[in-house]
């Protein structure tokens, strides 16, 4: 039978699904307008056709914005690769480092962690637990000490002892806190001073339950630390993280990894079409 209900109601549902996925109102309207056009243009009639057109177009829209971007992790040509983690409080920075460190360790790389969150209670111990799990060393300083000093020590150690990858864990901070953002900039400056083309990645960790504020997070972290990519965490929950579409559109930041749980293996490279299906949950089904 023909899929007769590719009518107004279908597109209204589509728009609502997008809003519910935190894509944002304006973006949701603009996307569903484009999808409506595309479905008409391609003369899609069966439900399967419509689904295909929609998913293709969405992935297309996502990828258009990222023609010149690296979705892979950028490695140093020689010497240690430094990956700096930034983001607001509680999004999953430390956990993601634990997961990524394990991944590289398994690939045979020599991995080092820097506990540059000297502020939050238990933060150093938390990273140390991950270090033990992953079997990688952790550079740490005293609690409440200057995080920039920890960063300096870790970079020196990474250079001297020929580490392949150094992950720098920083304290969560809200993007509107100027002093804390300056502190972060300082850490980044120290890294660049020690290794001119470092940090090779500055990963902004975003919690997929976050709504429109994630756009402000991306903007302000990008301004102060020149973010190179996003890790979208907690996608194992019911939130869909649609705001990364708006971030992609406005700031051209690619999502590099997604977090799917609290365990070490719960990390995956970002897959645009899987992500897009997630946005429309139940409304359109993946092609088998």
């Amino acid at each position: 039978a023909n899929f007769r209900h590719v009518d107004e109601e279908f597109f209204e549902n589509l728009e609502e699904a997008l809003i519910e996925s935190d894509v944002g109102f304006e973006m949701a309207v603009s996307i569903s307008d484009q999808l409506r056009e595309e479905v008409k243009l391609q003369n899609a009639k069966s439900k399967q056709d419509v689904t295909n057109v929609i998913i293709e177009k969405m992935v297309d829209l996502y990828e258009q914005q990222g023609k010149d971007e690296h979705t892979e992790i950028n490695f140093a040509k020689s010497g240690p690769t430094i990956i700096l983690f930034v983001g607001v409080n509680g999004v999953g920075k430390t956990t993601t480092i634990g997961k990524m460190a394990a991944m590289y360790q398994k690939q045979g790389k020599k991995v080092l962690l820097a506990a540059a969150d000297t502020f939050r209670a238990g933060a150093i111990q938390q990273l140390q637990v991950w270090g033990k799990r992953d079997n990688v060393p952790v550079v740490a300083g005293p609690e409440k000490s200057d995080p920039a000093a920890v960063v300096f020590d870790a970079v020196s150690k990474a250079k001297k002892e020929n580490y392949d990858v150094l992950f720098v864990d920083t304290a969560g901070r809200l993007q509107n806190k100027v002093n804390l953002m300056n502190e972060l900039e300082k850490m980044k400056r120290i890294i660049s001073r020690e290794i001119p083309d470092a940090p090779h990645e500055v990963l902004l960790v975003l919690d997929s339950t976050t709504g429109q504020n994630a756009l402000s997070q991306a903007k302000l972290f990008k301004e102060s630390t020149d973010v190179t990519g996003i890790v979208l965490t907690k996608l194992d929950g019911t939130a869909r993280g649609g705001i990364v579409l708006a971030i992609r559109n406005e700031l051209h930041l690619p999502v590099k990894y997604v977090g799917l749980g609290e365990q070490v293996d719960d990390l995956q490279a970002f897959d645009a079409s899987e992500f897009v299906y997630g946005l429309f949950k139940g409304l359109v089904e993946p092609t088998k």
Partner: protein, 308 residues
């Protein structure tokens, strides 16, 4: 930012209305559209927005123009009143048990701010009531969760009951409560691990802790930056635990915090406190009127009424 654009638009619409003696159907539609947009941009759940706008519209359409207020002022006033009403009445205090200890259980998604808020509440109880609270460390999953709670506790000089990470949380709570009774602590705050509301096993664990401890207060801790999903989270926890209150954290950021309205609308449970920073004294009682203005992004509503 997008917010400012919307606020501006709402203000422009209001300015247009100001000069009119009477609000037409079209005026009302335009205003309602702007309000709908502003609320969506503030992350209020879209179903909640729909209901809200309908309510305001009905009231606005039927309203007699009050003496001394022009139509624009009138609409702002209605919106503000309805928002505040929906947000709950004035600040609601912590529940207190007839006999000690009063038991408070923290619950919520991962990273929402449970452990930090547990610390803030204990300090507040100490300061306000000279209380002798005790923590129970019932998060055996997150790496170094117990270290974190112990450091928080030490900074405010509150004891922690813990049995490491190899004992079942329900058993930890059982033994912890025993000790609290022996040592006559007047408050017990149970720190639980973050979990997804769809994680049946871990939600059952919370239900079992509740059954055993019969808490006087079950506080759902929610990140103020949460988007549309706040509704699902709040519903999930409330269905399972029948929560008694909500704490909204990280309001020191630049989020509009529309999640507050969503949670309130779907659970009907009071928001009792707001977290305004990482330090132990960054906890405030919740003010519905301030939250209403914040969500609408209008600054002080009353000033706006004057300007309109």
């Amino acid at each position: 930012m997008a917010f400012e654009g919307l606020t501006q638009r709402l203000q422009d619409t209001m300015a247009k209305l100001r000069r009119k003696p009477k609000v037409t159907e079209a005026d009302l539609n335009e205003t309602m559209r702007d309000i709908r947009l502003a609320l969506l941009e503030a992350d209020v759940n879209f179903k909640v927005v729909k209901d809200f706008v309908k309510q305001v519209r009905t009231r606005a359409a039927g309203a007699e123009v009050l003496k001394g207020l022009n139509p624009a002022q009138q609409i702002v006033k209605i919106v503000n009143e309805e928002l505040t009403k929906m947000m709950g009445e004035e600040a609601v205090d912590l529940n207190k048990s007839e006999k000690i200890p009063t038991i408070i259980m923290m619950a919520g998604l991962q990273g929402a701010g449970k452990t930090t808020t547990a610390g803030k509440l204990a300090l507040k109880l100490k300061n306000d009531q000279n209380a002798r609270p005790m923590f129970i460390a019932a998060d055996i999953y997150r790496p170094a969760a117990i270290d974190q709670l112990e450091q928080v506790a030490e900074s405010i000089d509150v004891p922690v009951f813990q049995l490491g990470t190899d004992v079942d949380p329900v058993e930890i709570v059982r033994q912890g409560l025993e000790q609290a009774r022996d040592q006559h602590n007047d408050y017990v705050i149970i720190d639980t691990a973050g979990r997804l509301q769809i994680d049946e096993k871990l939600m059952d664990e919370l239900a079992n802790i509740k059954k055993l401890a019969d808490p006087d207060e079950i506080l759902l801790v929610v990140d103020a930056m949460t988007g549309q999903n706040a509704v699902e989270t709040a519903q999930g926890f409330n269905d399972k635990l029948d929560i008694t209150g909500v704490v909204l954290t990280k309001l020191d950021g630049d989020t509009r915090g529309g999640a507050a309205l969503s949670i309130r609308a779907v659970t009907g449970k009071p928001i009792k406190f707001v977290g305004q920073g990482e330090k132990m004294d960054d906890l405030d009682v919740f003010h519905p009127d301030r939250m209403a203005s914040r969500i609408l992004g209008m600054g002080d509503m009353l000033t706006l009424i004057e300007k309109a």
